[in-house]
């Protein structure tokens, strides 16, 4: 009698697939990544291993003993005290309490202090508060504490910022003006991020996390790379982590380069060397979940991309995993069956150094 295996769709809906269907899905997912990224698809053995992981009967699965990897975080303590649709569970607690919970109750290897608005630009007017919070956390904790936020260059465009929205300019066919707007915004992003982090490092921060690099496109990544470069130069020993916003750098500008490489259109294995060149210690590659495809398809695709990124990177890769990324369904609280299978596959097949 044929057995059907419980899986998920990219939107979290539970489905059941036969072994043959499952194998078809993972082959197709891996092939899609290979086609887009011009990278090798998973080998026969790797596909077999992935199918084994997906067919395991337990609700949760785990990595083999000895293959455990460190975990880094994003969003600071927002997952505890956030309650406005921002991934939190709404437990009233100070940021110190939230950080210590992560360290002592959740067993986090590192922790991150983040602002409710979680972008670098809004931190500027309240940086004194952030410095004070960092100092208090450092005095009460042992694990490395980073400061994290998103570059979020979109905040530099109207109506939130001083530069005209390049999307609006492009719709009016004002392409040169759009390019200039993005270039100016990137300069401001670099300047502001460095300014904020100079203060946070002086307050004892052990490192910085650039979360969702490239969210506003290639100019966002350009500004971030230059910020990493500047921070590395000023703080040679600080820990810098740069995680991406998406699997492919969105070509809003199209002509910006870093180290002679056009940033637009880069896939994870092409992003990794540039992040390293800028001076980061850890790279967080991303693969987006397609909500209309199965988790088998999505995970095979994600593992294929991540494997290539790990191979191309000389710095550790901590794959971004969570809601809608890293082969995990798009849900605020992703189902544990999908999360653990994806984590196991990323460690044991893609060879990631952390999550």
């Amino acid at each position: 009698m044929a057995i059907d295996y419980a899986l998920r769709m990219g939107d979290g809906k539970k489905i059941f697939l036969s072994k043959d269907q499952l194998l078809e899905e993972i082959e197709a997912g891996s092939a899609d990544a290979a086609d887009l990224g011009e990278i090798p698809s998973l080998s026969g053995d790797e596909l077999a291993k992935l199918s084994e992981i997906l067919m395991m009967p337990g609700k949760t699965v785990s990595v083999e003993q000895g293959m455990e990897v460190p975990v880094t975080h994003d969003i600071g303590t927002l997952r505890i005290d956030g309650d406005q649709g921002n991934s939190g569970v709404g437990i009233p607690s100070s940021r110190l309490v939230g950080c210590m919970m992560h360290e002592r109750a959740f067993g986090s290897d590192t922790m991150e202090l983040g602002h409710i608005d979680y972008s670098y630009k809004p931190v500027k007017p309240v940086v004194a508060n952030e410095c004070q919070a960092m100092e208090v956390c450092q005095q009460n904790m042992i694990v490395p504490m980073l400061y994290g936020a998103m570059p979020n260059m979109g905040l530099y465009y109207t109506p939130d910022g001083p530069f005209e929205n390049p999307g609006d300019l492009m719709k009016a066919f004002k392409i040169q003006e759009a390019w200039e707007s993005m270039e100016h915004a990137a300069e401001h992003l670099t300047r502001d991020t460095v300014w904020v982090m100079q203060r946070l490092f002086a307050s004892g921060a052990d490192g910085i996390n650039f979360d969702t690099t490239g969210a506003a496109g290639d100019a966002d990544m350009y500004g971030t790379l230059h910020a990493i470069e500047a921070l590395r130069k000023e703080f040679p020993n600080i820990y810098i982590e740069a995680g991406m916003a998406g699997e492919c750098v969105l070509g809003m500008h199209g002509q910006l380069e870093y180290d002679g490489k056009t940033l637009a259109g880069l896939w994870p294995h092409e992003q990794a060397p540039l992040i390293e060149k800028a001076g980061a210690n850890v790279f967080g590659p991303v693969c987006n979940t397609n909500t209309s495809k199965t988790s088998a398809w999505n995970l095979a695709r994600a593992v294929t991309f991540m494997k290539a990124a790990v191979k191309a990177s000389n710095i550790p890769c901590h794959v971004d995993m969570g809601m809608g990324v890293g082969g995990i369904p798009m849900l605020e609280t992703p189902p544990i069956d999908a999360v653990t299978r994806a984590s196991k596959a990323m460690v044991e097949i893609a060879g990631v150094d952390g999550i």
């Binding site: 609006d168 719709k171 066919f173 392409i175 759009a178 070509g251």
Partner: protein, 214 residues
């Protein structure tokens, strides 16, 4: 002289090159040998479809899309004198596009607006965090054929349902199509809330809008 297929292929390739001069030259060459509607639909529009696919694959970028669109506009203009009255500068449809109330993400939505405009739709991009009623008011004002609703968070997805319900209350649901998109949106969600379609990305949004409004 060039066969029909060669001429169409040149038109399409000229669009993909994103160069206005190349498009103008290809249109001039095809004029008189092919019907204007064929030049536009099977030559230039095919090229725009290819541009959309290349954009999704990260081979072409947004400025290229706009340059291709501008080149297409220039090419279509050359044919206007030969087109029947009423067909000149005909838009494929009127679309109101925005990000739903409570959601401030707009890059993806803006790209969709740009691609729809490039494809020949009249697009009214009303921005982000748009109050539900504003979608309806704008649709009435511009006599929209379709409303595009973007949501980037699971917590704001409900806004897509709210707009559809308000369209029903206003007695407009039969007259206005609804397309939804955004990372947490799915085909299953579209069916659940009664949207006409769901688009995974900007290229698909163009294809589905054309299907819905043809």
């Amino acid at each position: 002289m060039g066969s029909k297929e060669e001429l169409l292929s040149e038109l399409s390739a000229a669009i993909v090159s994103c160069k206005k001069d190349s498009v103008i030259a290809a249109v001039e060459k095809a004029k008189g040998k092919l019907e204007p509607s064929e030049i536009i639909e099977k030559g230039l529009a095919e090229g725009m479809n290819e541009v959309g696919l290349l954009f999704e694959r990260g081979k072409l970028f947004l400025p290229h899309v706009m340059m291709a669109a501008e080149a297409m506009t220039a090419g279509v203009k050359l044919l206007e004198s030969e087109m029947p009255l009423g067909e000149k500068s005909k838009k494929l449809g009127v679309i109101v596009n925005g990000t739903v109330e409570g959601d401030v993400h707009d890059i993806g939505k803006s790209i969709v607006s740009t691609m729809l405009q490039s494809a020949g739709f009249e697009v009214h991009d009303i921005g982000r965090d748009v109050p539900t009623r504003t979608f309806i008011e704008k649709a009435k004002e511009v006599k929209a054929d379709l409303i595009g609703l973007s949501a980037l968070m699971t917590t704001t997805l409900q806004g897509q349902r709210d707009v559809i319900e308000l369209l029903k209350e206003e007695g407009m649901r039969d007259k206005v199509k609804v397309m939804i998109g955004g990372a947490p949106a799915t085909q299953a969600w579209a069916e659940k809330i009664g949207a006409d379609c769901y688009a995974e990305n900007a290229s698909e949004a163009v294809a589905k809008a054309k299907e819905l409004l043809q």
